[in-house]
């Protein structure tokens, strides 16, 4: 039987549609435990490829024949080898094209809403890493927020819908992924906005994004209200788009809140984070649709694959917004934090322009989950 390649896009469809898939992950155990393809109805078997060099006999009875089987490895090579061995035994299996490397880089655009005077807002779901970026489109113009380094995807998308990218934003200096913002701004001659408090070490020119900025996208009066909300980083900024959408960056997620320790001392910024979440956000309309810069778990995805929720619902349901006791809140965000993202210091320096790693190095720095949140 011949083996088939399955693309990250096809796997993403299965995640969104909650389809079943059996994943045979042949990376080593620590890599699998650290980070894997998540899906609500996915089943897993992790056996490193190097334990299968002498044959696949011992795992044959562990592989179901009544569901799709996908062999996954880091870069594709080992999964092809194992898939061929299984195929030789008569099994019908696929391998993940480009491996986890491709999975980490796949972006799936999902429309999350319409703007009042015409126009749309799209969410780009980086399904493998949990990063969310946005494109706001109105009357032939577009703004991009928290772009990943896979810049071609945004450029091509804007091309297809016939929009010119005029403004590019980063809500904060990211520590979990390399920003594509500056690159997109250079290629399109758009304005690149960064919160100045996060940017005092950056080596390139930028437009300071401060509270009260109103930016027009297209002809329609679409206002982006920059809402200064420190906590995750000292300069973290949220946007209210079209009085309807709250882009909350890494401050507030669907089922968790931002961690304050990735750019400095957690203890110093706990007060800021609490202020943002418990005072500044409380002053906003509960009807705003929260669009965060990350999701942590696959069950935060809506039926269409998008990640969004009413602010009012989050005030009722998000544990991180419901801790009355300040001391307890401080404990949550400073103690028992998850491990810091892979290479987060190097990623920060790259986003400041202090480092210029090649693409291969960038991939390596970004490998693994994002871990920007605490629950």
């Amino acid at each position: 039987m011949s083996i088939k390649a399955m693309t990250s896009k096809e796997v993403t469809k299965k995640v969104f549609n909650k389809e079943a898939l059996f994943i045979l992950d042949v990376r080593n155990k620590s890599a699998f435990l650290d980070w894997k393809i998540e899906g609500e109805k996915f089943a897993y078997l992790n056996i490193p490829y190097f334990d299968l060099l002498d044959g696949v006999d011992e795992i044959l009875n562990k592989i179901p024949t009544d569901m799709d089987v996908l062999v996954v490895c880091a870069k594709e090579g080992s999964s092809v080898m194992v898939a061929e061995m299984l195929s030789d035994e008569g099994l019908n299996v696929s391998y993940l094209q480009g491996g986890m490397k491709a999975w980490s880089e796949h972006l799936e655009p999902v429309k999350v809403g319409n703007l009042k005077d015409g126009g749309e807002i799209y969410q780009f779901v980086r399904i493998g890493k949990g990063c969310l970026s946005y494109m706001i489109v109105s009357n032939g113009e577009a703004a991009i927020i928290d772009a990943t380094r896979m810049t071609d995807i945004y450029l091509d998308f804007a091309d297809i819908i016939g929009a010119k990218i005029t403004h590019v934003f980063d809500t904060h200096l990211h520590a979990d992924h390399i920003s594509g913002g500056r690159d997109i701004a250079e290629k399109t001659e758009a304005v690149y906005w960064l919160p100045p408090k996060d940017a005092f070490e950056v080596t390139f020119p930028y437009q300071p994004l401060e509270a009260g900025n109103d930016i027009i996208i297209g002809n329609a009066p679409i206002n982006i209200h920059a809402l200064y909300s420190p906590g995750h980083t000292i300069g973290s900024t949220s946007f209210v788009v079209d009085r309807k959408f709250l882009l909350s960056g890494d401050i507030l997620f669907i089922d968790s809140i931002g961690r304050p320790d990735l750019a400095g001392l957690a203890g110093d910024w706990v007060g800021d984070l609490r202020d943002s979440l418990y005072k500044r956000y409380r002053e906003l309309s509960a009807e705003l649709i929260v669009l965060p810069a990350h999701f942590m778990m696959i069950d935060e995805l809506n039926a269409d694959g998008s990640v969004s929720e009413r602010l009012g619902t989050l005030f009722a349901k998000n544990h991180g917004l419901n801790i009355e006791d300040e001391h307890e809140f401080k404990k949550l965000v400073t103690e028992n934090l998850p491990p810091q993202p892979n290479a987060y210091q190097e990623i920060r320096e790259t986003n400041m322009g202090k480092m210029n790693p090649d693409v291969e190095k960038q991939r390596e720095m970004e490998s693994g989950p994002n871990r920007c949140a605490v629950r």
């Binding site: 080593n28 155990k29 490829y49 190097f50 490895c73 090579g77 080992s78 291969e360 390596e364």
Partner: protein, 191 residues
């Protein structure tokens, strides 16, 4: 450039996963138990995989040295040294040796493991003479010195201690178990 004496150098440069491990596995078949291989690879993922593969097969992963784009992995083929019976009578525990070192006594620590094993992890005062070279390098040691012999588990050092005793060394002590459980001061290379 670091050159470490090994029994075999395998060139897996430019090869993507799974080939570095596939080739290493084949090369290991041609080695004798206890011999050391250097695998040169450019696949960044090979480091974690070598470590994990060694763990699952019983080979000893010694460490990796990065030189530019090249990763040089050092592994020692699985040996059944743990099984053999020890003959040299004069023994010391790791703790006893650590105490003697701490009190700055005039003792010699002789590490008889392979050069690569020594390089990645050794007791700071230890001198390195691999077991296979001991016979012809006896002149580097003094018969009157108090010599503590260490290896990984106490077996190669047992052979070495016997050899020294046969050659007229009188104060030879075998350290058991040795480096596999050493918790005292040590020099380590990266990793």
């Amino acid at each position: 450039m670091t050159t470490i004496k090994t029994n075999l150098v395998l060139d897996a440069k430019g090869l993507a996963c799974p080939m570095p491990i596939v080739k290493t596995k084949k090369a290991m078949n041609g080695l004798e138990a206890g011999q050391v291989i250097e695998v040169q690879a450019t696949d960044k993922g090979s480091k974690a995989d070598m470590k994990a593969w060694a763990g699952s097969t019983g080979h000893q992963y010694l460490g990796t040295i990065e030189e530019g784009d090249v990763l040089k992995h050092y592994l020692r083929k699985l040996s059944n040294e743990e099984a053999s019976e020890r003959k040299h009578q004069n023994l010391s525990t790791n703790e006893e040796l650590d105490q003697r070192l701490a009190s700055n006594e005039n003792i010699v620590v002789l590490d008889v493991r392979e050069e690569a094993e020594y390089l990645f992890h050794h007791i700071p005062q230890a001198i390195s003479i691999p077991l296979g070279e001991l016979e012809k390098r006896l002149n580097e040691l003094n018969k009157e010195d108090e010599i503590f012999v260490v290896c990984r588990t106490g077996n190669r050092s047992d052979f070495a201690a016997q050899k020294l005793a046969e050659n007229g060394f009188t104060k030879v002590i075998n350290v058991v178990p040795g480096m596999c459980e050493w918790t005292g001061k040590s020099n380590r290379l990266n990793n």
